[in-house]
Amino acid sequence: MMDLLNNAVLAGFIAASVRMAIPILLAAIGGMFSEKSGVLNIGLEGMMLLGCFVGFAAAYASGSLLVGVLAAIVAGALLGLVLGVFAVTIGSNQVVVGIAINLLMVGVTGFFFRLFFGSGTSSPRITNFQPIDFGVLGQIPIIGPLLFQHDPLTYLALLIVVLAWVVMHRSTVGLAISAAGEHPEAAETLGLNVPRIRYLCLLAGGALAGLGGAFLSLSATGLFIDNMTSGRGYIALAMLILGRRYPFGILAAALLFGAADALQLRTQLLPWNIPLQFLLMLPYVLTIVVLAIAAGRTGAPAALGAPFRRHKSDGA
């Protein structure tokens, strides 16, 4: 009996770890594409928040979760485009643009949420994605909760990790992206269009961050709350550094984070008398610790953060 209980607790914990990891994972993979091409994507937080809201609103209006997911992806991509206009075309300070985008999205999502749903106390809900039933497979200890107790979005996210690896490390596209991030001038001499590569990477990054945000509202909860992403976009930036901008490294980092988040959620239910606030802090503390450990040789692309001008401008 005791064994059974422990197994149930462990299974729940493993499943929750994966659930908590997915939004961070998607945003971090999105950030990886941006950074590999040489653009810092501080706007991940805003892109997630927009995806979170648009996904919810579209699913609510259409009654279809799929419509919600697609809308979130498009919204995130559009925001990636906005970041591109500033970071690639204008050559603005990428950190400032990113922060502006994040603050803008807090305003935009709050504004339209009030507009569509009023500011009453009852929060609108949708039926969220449900886990796929794999029958007996889900009952396998450890492997079951790890792999066979999740909803479609989770599997999509895991598929995206594999695809990202193929694109970055097994295709010429990946070489072009790396070239744009490491040495844009050389990439241009090879005939690559660096601004176009960066725009495409920002579109992909925005789309993935939007999808990550949509996971929060469409899968994890079934509702939207103001500022729902609460720093996850920035956490994703840290996990992307920890994962060395490598898809499977990012997957491992995101799972580690998810485990910490699941741990604090589970601990809330135990009669241990740890003040709730200390548990809530845990993911953020972990991020700081992770960043300190992962510092040093982070393997950042050489041209990360530097705007690139195609034609020699006068005395730049």
């Binding site: 810092l40 950190v95 400032v96 922060i99 603050l103 807090v106 003040p275 606030q277 200390f278 510092a295």
Partner: protein, 351 residues
């Protein structure tokens, strides 16, 4: 990972700032139109509420205080090449420090009580910011991520204190006990809530301006932000300047926590700030990281915020519109930097 702020943060003249604000207001008006409401009525309600009466002006001045203090701190950090996005958490830590000291000094003379509270708040904020400084210099952790994480951690920590050790036993809410009369900032204009904090904010702006442009230390700060390597070669202790940038920002944001506690709330509460520390980033940019400019930018944003609730009730436009306008200001500031590329440069202008 993140380059210093050497790259031009924002356009560099007053005109571009005004233009950015006007464009952002115009974009807001278009949004109001799209909702089928009247932008003139909406903005009319907004600005008459915040600027059209003594009380409105007083409320605007009250909100100017935390925005200006945090904005000046962030601007100084920017100047040192430090991207401190942690003013919000530093404000909360400052607020709880002030409230704690204020309750300890129950019954002491007003000047003594308020001075010690202010010092405690500044130290609290500086320490909180100092964590990010240590992480940056010791572990090379990017301050952008660490300061944001510290915001969450700081606010949760304050939440813990308010629910636990510092909770007012006589209240159902998570807050400290009410401060005694001697631990409150005096009201300047009878009949309004305008408190002495505005004097502190204006003084801070002028002192910071003098510091930045009229002292050797201020020169070192600017030199470091513009080109750390050159500054290092010129014999400036860059690491120390970076620490100063962090601590100054933290102290000023902590001070903003003090003015909110001692001037407005009269106790520490869980929702001390509606994101002043984040809005102050935009305020610092709009003020072009010049303390006096930041003061004016803070006043403008304060007016927008004070009038936004009236706009919501009068015209039915959600008050979040002001947040949209505020963030758009930055984007319009940045967008103007595209202009010089289409013009022939006459002089070799330097960044």
């Amino acid at each position: 990972m993140i380059e210093t702020v050497r790259r031009t943060l924002v356009a560099r003249n007053l005109l571009s700032g005004i233009l950015a604000v006007l464009l952002a207001l115009l974009a807001g008006a278009l949004l109001i139109l799209a909702l089928g409401r009247d932008p003139v009525a909406a903005y009319g309600a907004l600005f008459s509420a915040s600027l059209g009466s003594t009380n409105g002006l007083a409320e605007t001045a009250i909100r100017t205080v935390p925005l200006a203090l945090c904005g000046i701190g962030i601007a100084l950090a920017f100047r040192a090449g430090v991207f401190n996005v942690g003013a919000e958490g530093q404000l909360f830590i400052g607020g709880i420090s002030a409230a704690y000291v204020g309750t300890l000094l129950d019954g002491q003379p007003q000047l003594l009580a308020l001075s010690l509270m202010a010092v405690a708040a500044a130290i609290g904020g500086a320490l909180w910011s100092g964590i990010a400084a240590v992480l940056k210099l010791r572990f090379r952790s990017d301050e952008l991520i660490t300061t944001i994480m510290l915001n969450y951690i700081g606010i949760f920590f304050v939440g813990y204190l308010l629910h636990g050790p510092l909770h007012d036993p006589g209240s159902a809410l998570a807050q400290t006990v009410r401060l005694g009369a001697e631990a409150r900032l005096p009201v300047l204009v009878p009949g309004t809530r305008l408190h002495f904090g505005i004097v502190i904010a204006v003084a801070a702006a002028f002192i910071a301006q003098l510091y930045l442009w009229r002292t050797v230390a201020g020169f070192r700060l600017r030199a470091t932000g513009q080109n750390p390597r050159a500054a290092e070669n010129a014999g400036i202790n860059v690491r120390r300047v970076i620490v100063v940038g962090f601590l100054t920002c933290g102290a000023l944001a902590g001070l903003a926590g003090f003015t909110e506690v001692a001037g407005v709330q009269r106790r520490m509460i869980e929702n001390l700030s509606p994101g002043y520390g984040y809005t102050a980033i935009i305020v610092a940019l709009l003020g072009q990281t010049n303390p006096i400019g930041v003061l004016f930018a803070a006043a403008l944003f304060a007016a927008l915020q004070v009038g936004s609730t009236t706009m919501e009730s009068a015209v039915g436009v959600p008050s979040s519109l002001t947040m949209i306008i505020q963030a758009l200001v930055v984007l319009f500031l940045l967008a103007q930097n595209v202009m010089p590329r289409f013009r022939r440069k006459k002089t070799g202008a330097t960044a």
